[in-house]
Structures are given as structure tokens and as C-alpha cells.
Amino acid sequence: MFEMPSGAEIQSIISILKGGAGYFVPEIYLSALFMVLILLDLITGKKNRGLLATATIAGLLGSVYFIFKQQTMPEVQFFFGMYALDRFGIFFKYFFVVSGVLAVLTTVIDEQLKKHESGMGEYYALLVAMVVGMMMMASSTDLLMMFLSMELVSLSAYALTGYLKREPRSSEAALKYLVYGAVSSGMLLYGFSLLYGMTAETNLTRISMVLAAHGYDPLAMILAVLLIMAGLGYKMGAVPFHFWSPDVYEGAPTPVTAYLSVASKAAGFAMLMRFFFVAVPHGFDMYVSPLHIDWLSILILVSAASMIYGNVVAIWQKNVKRLLAYSSIAHAGYLLLGIITMDQLGTQAVLVYLAAYLLMNYGAFYVVILIANHTGSENLDDYKGLGKRMPLLGAALTVFLISLVGLPPTFGFIGKLMIFSALLAKGSLFMWLALIGILTSVISLYYYMLIPLNMYLRESNTPEEGVIATGMGAKIVTASLMILTLWFGLFFQPIANYARYSTSIFGAFLN
């Protein structure tokens, strides 16, 4: 069907690949780490948890060096334009490495995983695989690469979700995650195929060039975008693609829940931004002609629905993990607000918000795990009277929750501030969206505060008293997360500036 490429062509292909490999070092390094971890697990046998965790953290931190070196490299698209090395990607690389490290830290303290009978080698390896996959999601500039990286993340995530094989909830979560994930990735793929059919290109930049040059069929376009949105929305956990998230977040091992809710979501957003900003034509013409529906209106609807649904349904939750799951749907809504603005300020706001979400959500889950270690459950009722018994953890959890609400002086507030600034900078166009955001924030306060309410304001059902001991390491991690959340709430300049620097690659594509 196709001609075999000639020797010269092959040589040029190989030289391109060789050239690109130099820009791909962090990913290669982490893939090697993945294999090293598996080998390490196989070699060391059963009693290797500490070693594995240490190796994972050390390995992940080692990758920072390579990412750092990339900062001075020229920004290029390599591997035939499939992959990009740019600031945007580097920002997310740092982000995912940090989230990976935090995931290991949360894993180490989790009692549920400690009791897990089989080894943890796969666990850490899959964790690293997810980091690689998410890095690639953030840096892919080609439909194929996007799909592959997304599947890498998804497949690892399925396995991680069902990691507690003996735990019915974990298996159930994995099944649900899998079923919804498979369907949505199928839809995403079908959308990609339509887009490919319209443009005969898979590179994002070239797709946009073709679309700009030749125009497109609006019906096919809207169909493709809808299908792609389904896939991305699933990763982001936005309404109406959220069905999986409460069950999965509740059932999965808590460190995995935290990881999914932060990192996987962020990867979805990174991909969404790259895809929609670069590939698909956009603009504000829908306000010129109301009949012209484009992806922006879809995003607006999704965002509003996510904020409302996530926050409202969270009110009735009795399980803290589930509560955080619903709240994470809401946060996806807030994040989408920043994308809707379609400008650099909005994008910057999204990155800042993600960074904030990383700290505060991880912090919250960290404390939830520590509490679950003691009480053996994540039910709100079991939080009664804990505030007195774990003073540091209680205070830290309160700070994280306040940050999730978006109250000063926390990092979460800065995230919301930037998002709303971006919205209002557009004038009164998105005022109603901002209003929804603000009103749902008030709702979120109610359910978030249920946790401190139970911890501090209610008396424990059990007669136990006295301070519950937590390990020194756990205390240090909690305290540093708390301090960082507060610190960046007051001095967010470096992160916000870095976020701005990272978003500048979209300059030409945004209006």
C-alpha cells in the first residue's frame, strides 16, 4: 500500500530521532527509573518498602536536575513535531515531579497500603509511569502522542486504583474508573480521527494552520470537539464526565486518590490548554452570532455545571474522601474559568490555581490519611473531637480546607483571585460566571467547614482522650505543607511570575 522509504530517508529519520532524544532526557530518565524500580523490587524481595520509597523519591528528585537543564535549552518541537520542549511543558514537569514525590510521601504513611499483602514495587513503578505519562501529556503536540500519553496515565491509574485487591471498594473503584475511562478514551480517539479526517494532519500547529487556511465543516467540527471534550473532561473530572470520580476517589487507596485528583487533573488541563489553544480555531465570534456554537460555549457550560454540581452535591457527603471528590469536580469548574477567558492572564491563573491545588489538596489528603490511620475510617462522624487530640494535624487540615474554600491568607485564595481577575479583566462579559463561582465558593465553605466543625466543635463519641501520636516525619511534612500554603498565600509572586513565563508560549494563539 505504501512505498518503502529509501535508505536516505531512513537515515534522515534516524538522525531526527537521535537529535530529538537529547530533548527527551527527563522522560527517558524516568522511564529508566520505572524499570529500575521494578528490578529493585524483584531483587530485594518482600521487605523493601522503605528502600523502594526512598529510591522513588530520590529518583524523582534526580529528574529535577534534568528538567532544570532543559530550562536553558532552546524551545523546539522534535520527533517530527510530536513532542515539544517548552516552558509550558517544563512547568508541568516540575509540577508532576512534585506531585509524584508527594504521592510517595502520602503512600509511606498510609496504613491501608502498609497492610497490603503483596509488594509495593509495582505501586511505585506505576506511580513513576504516571509521572512520565503526565509529563508527556503536558508536552505532546501531536494527536497521536496525546493519545498515547493519556493512555499511559490512564492504564497506570486503573491499576493503582485497584491496587488493594482484597478491598472490595478498591476493586469497584478500579472497575468504574476503567469502564468510564475506556469509554471516554474511545470517544476522544474518535474525535481525533474526525479531526484528522478534516485536516489530514496530526500535529496541533499544522492542524490549526490547515483549519485556518481551508476552513472547516462546523458540524463535523463541533462533533469532533464534543467527543474530544468527553475524553479530556473525563481526565479533568468535570461535569458531565464526572460520574466516576466520587466512587473512584472513595474506593481507591487514599494516596492514589490524592494523586489522581491533583496530578491527573492537572495533566488533563495541560492537554486541554495545548489542544484548544493551539489546534482548534477559537475566538469570540459566538457573541457576534449566537447560532455559532463553538467549543468555548461548551467549556462555559461544563465549567458552570461543574461548579454548581460539585459544590451542591458535596454538601450531603458523609465520607471525607467522597466530599473531597465532589469538591474536586467543583475545582475543575473553577479551573475551566481560567481557560474560558482565552488569554494569557487566564492561563496564568490556571497554572497558579493548579499549583495551589497541589499544595492544599495534597495537604488535606495527607491529614485525612493520618486520621484514617488512627480511626480506620474516613467518615465525618469519626472526626468528632479529633481536633483536641491531634492539634497540629487539626490546625493544618483547617488551613488546607480554608485554602480550598479560597479564603485569605492562603494559596487557594490567590488561585481564586487570579481566576476571577482574569474573568473580570474581560469586562462584564463573564460576570455571571464569576458570580456562579463566588456563590458556589460560599457553598463550599459550608461543607468544607463540616470537617473542622466535627473536629473541634463536637465531642468524640468514644471515651478515648489524650493526644494521638503521629510520627515526626508526618508532622514535618504536614507542617511544611501548611506553611507553604500560607506562605504562598502571602508571597505568591515567584510562582505567579513563573506561571506567567510558562504561559507565554501561547502568546500568538490567544487573543
Binding site: M1, M4, I10, I14, M35, I38, L42
Partner: protein, 143 residues
């Protein structure tokens, strides 16, 4: 392009002919053979006894594990075939690439090996209960 398509056109003819042969055989046999069914004759064969329970028994979980490992390996091997035809032109770089690729595969195999997923009989109590079937004497060759 034409040639390939005509090649597969021939394959299509093979397919049709194969089906025709089978169907023809069936039809011929139907014309020739007697048909005197009775309930005893039409019952499921179980060594001359009345069949106990249904054939829907649980299989050894190993079968599924084998299926899983097979899927992975098989698809990866598929990738090697196109490579095999051109790798002489591609040279050492492609060889190294493929060695990495195969290395990952081998790692997977080693992993499954060490974790005991290649052992048909595992020490863990994973042997399924088969209430419909009489207990096997030979516990090892389970399947």
C-alpha cells in the same frame, strides 16, 4: 496498491471457497445421512452417565493470567515484524532501539516470572472451587 488489494482479493476468494466447501459438505451429508434423534442420544455426553449440572464451571484463574500475558506479548511481537524487514537498512541505532524495546518486554517477563504468575500451580489458595465437578485426584494438573 492494486497488487496488494488483488492479493487480498485472492484471499477473499479463498475465504468464499472455504465457506462453500464447508457448507457444501454439510449439505451433502444432510442429504445422505439418517436423522433419528431421541432425547437419550441428544443428551450431553458425560461418560454415559446423565450429565451433572451445567458445563459452566469456573476455570482456573491461570487461564486468564495466561491470556493477559499473551495479549501483551503478542501485540508487541507484531511491532517487531515490520521492523524485522527493514532493520538492516536502519543499522545499529534501530537495533539499539529494538533491544530496549525487547528489554522492556523481557523485564515484563522476568517480573511475571518472579511474581509467580508463570507458575501454573501457585502456593496461594487460588485454586477455584468447582462445586459441580467431583474433586480431582491429581491436584496439580488442574484445568
Amino acid at each position: 496498491m492494486d497488487q496488494t488489494l488483488s492479493g487480498f482479493g485472492t484471499v477473499f476468494v479463498f475465504l468464499v471457497l472455504g465457506i462453500v466447501f464447508v457448507v457444501g459438505g454439510y449439505l451433502t451429508a444432510r442429504m445422505l445421512r439418517p436423522s433419528r434423534p431421541n432425547p437419550e442420544k441428544n443428551s450431553t455426553y458425560e461418560c454415559g452417565e446423565h450429565a451433572v449440572g451445567s458445563a459452566w464451571v469456573k476455570f482456573n484463574i491461570r487461564f486468564y493470567v495466561v491470556a493477559l500475558i499473551f495479549i501483551i506479548f503478542d501485540v508487541e511481537v507484531v511491532f517487531l515484524y515490520p521492523w524485522a524487514t527493514v532493520f538492516k537498512q536502519l543499522g545499529a541505532f534501530a537495533l539499539v532501539e529494538v533491544l530496549i524495546f525487547v528489554g522492556i518486554l523481557v523485564l515484563g517477563l522476568v517480573y511475571a516470572w518472579v511474581k509467580g504468575d508463570l507458575d501454573w500451580v501457585r502456593p496461594t489458595p487460588n485454586i477455584p472451587k468447582m462445586p459441580e465437578m467431583p474433586v480431582r485426584r491429581s491436584g496439580k494438573a488442574n484445568g
